[in-house]
């Protein structure tokens, strides 16, 4: 099996991340602990066999408009145990089951990859900059991650999305394993 991730982020300040930061600082009581919020989109790929994933993703990223727009985005690719390099010091991945299946079907329909096409999952990586104390940092991320009450939590609605919190910068494998890969079920949900 091969797991790989392409992470893309805006070249300009991300307005959604700025709105999230303002909401958390001004209205949800995180002004003293949360210093910044940034955001990137992640696409995780899973092949059942061993493939040269980096080359395939580099080609898809540069030769097609499927994964990134060079006028808008920067991107990085990590394969297997290679680390990603998001900003911040704690990270929240939010994703909805089945998101990314549309990209998988485009890869298949347009025959953009040789051999068996990969399964694709898609999510948002929230990059939070907070205190250096690990305990406070983890508590802050957990409180911010899911909206459970009107005045608590923000980034994901637990009735719709899944959440994974990373205390260390995730590798491609960490990130890919956080997604729901039961593709048949995800397809059915769509």
């Amino acid at each position: 099996m091969t797991l790989a991730v392409l992470r893309r982020w805006l070249k300009v300040p991300d307005p959604t991340a700025l709105t999230a930061r303002d909401t958390l600082q001004r209205w949800l009581g995180f002004a003293d602990v949360l210093r910044d919020v940034e955001r990137s989109e992640v696409f995780a790929f899973r092949w059942e066999e061993a493939v040269a994933a980096r080359g395939i993703l580099e080609r898809l990223a540069t030769d097609t408009n499927l994964l990134q727009n060079p006028n808008k985005h920067c991107f990085e690719i990590a394969v297997g145990s290679e680390a990603l390099h998001p900003r911040g010091n704690v990270w929240v991945l939010t994703h909805e089951a089945g998101n990314g299946a549309d990209i998988g079907s485009v890869l298949e329909r347009r025959r953009l990859v040789d051999g068996e096409p990969p399964q694709v999952a898609r999510g948002v990586l929230w990059e939070l900059t907070g205190p250096t104390d690990r305990g406070t940092l983890s508590r802050m991320a957990a409180e911010i991650a899911e909206t459970r009450e009107r005045r608590a939590g923000l980034l994901a609605n637990p009735h719709l999305e899944n959440v994974t919190i990373f205390s260390d910068a995730p590798t491609a494998m960490d990130m890919a394993e956080a997604f729901v890969w039961e593709s048949a079920e995800a397809e059915e949900l769509r």
Binding site: T19, W27, T147, R148, E149, R150, L155, N157, H159, L189
Partner: protein, 285 residues
């Protein structure tokens, strides 16, 4: 109309969050139901917001749907007033984006007020934004709400709709079934003939049980995804619409007096007006 008469109408705040775009149509629909709609900015002082008899969160794209539709607006301090009003029994109507705000604010289904018990997910059956007319059936389950008294139980009416995230969903679908049994899902997508559980496009987003509108247990808060204010005049109904509204619309062709008459969405606003003037009617089973 005389200003003194309008002054006596119940006052309804149409809350203008940044990014909404249906506030003027909503105000106009309220006024046709003889309600004094006033557009009020979300950050007005609380005492000004407190002074209304009812609240409408209109459609649009509050905070540009950033993070999730309705997610940021649900956190603004002005929503405290709306939440308090809902608990006090004042009517609160969320239309489209307003419905998304009410769900994210935990006011609907409101079993535990303030707790987020549900979500509005991306449309299924149609990838992305869907815009069209749908048919909605009133299912009273022996219970009246602040927004349905003018409808007959089982009545089917056409209404416009436009959204990308309108699928009522919950982690445990059995809970949604319980709310439906309790009469909290009084408005559901159906076929033009009134058949339940339709697929796309009659159920345009894959909502659980074909839910188009969900209320709180008391029935004074309604999250409704379609746009009744866009069906407020008969002239807004397309001629191809099926059922009695289509017949009425075709018969009214080139008759300005008839075309300016009430459209199918007005019953919702008239129900609200009745509720504000005379309180809750007895449920008609």
């Amino acid at each position: 109309m005389k200003e003194s008469i309008i002054e006596a109408w119940p006052r309804v705040a149409v809350i203008q969050l940044p990014g909404v775009n249906c506030e003027y149509e909503t105000k106009a629909a309220l006024e046709r139901a003889e309600l004094r709609g006033e557009i009020v900015r979300w950050n007005e002082p609380q005492e000004r917001l407190d002074a209304f008899d009812a609240y409408v969160l209109p459609g649009g794209f509050s905070y540009e749907d950033r993070i999730r539709a309705g997610a940021v607006a649900a956190k603004v301090p002005g929503l405290d007033v709306v939440a308090r009003a809902a608990e006090d029994g004042k009517p609160v109507l969320g239309i489209c984006n307003g419905a998304q705000v009410l769900v994210e604010a935990g006011l609907v289904p409101g079993r535990t007020p303030g707790e987020v018990e549900m979500a509005l997910g991306s449309n299924r059956g149609w990838d992305g934004y869907y815009c069209g007319w749908v048919y909605v059936k009133v299912e009273k389950q022996g219970r009246e709400t602040a927004f349905t008294s003018r409808f007959e139980d089982g009545e089917v009416f056409p209404v416009p709709l436009a959204h990308a995230q309108g699928r009522f969903t919950v982690r445990d679908p059995d809970r949604f079934q319980e709310w439906a049994h309790a009469g909290q899902v009084p408005l559901r997508y159906v076929t033009p003939d009134g058949d339940a559980d339709p697929g796309f496009p009659d159920n345009p987003n894959g909502s659980l049980l074909g839910a188009a509108g969900v209320t709180n247990p008391a029935g004074n808060v309604l999250a409704f995804m379609p746009h009744p204010e866009r069906g407020g005049r008969l002239r807004q109904v397309p001629e191809w619409i099926q059922g009695t509204w289509g017949t009425r619309r075709r018969a009214a062709a080139r008759r300005r007096d008839l075309l300016d008459g009430p459209g199918p969405g007005m019953k919702l606003f008239h129900s609200l007006a009745d509720y504000l003037r005379w309180g809750q009617r007895e449920a008609r089973v």
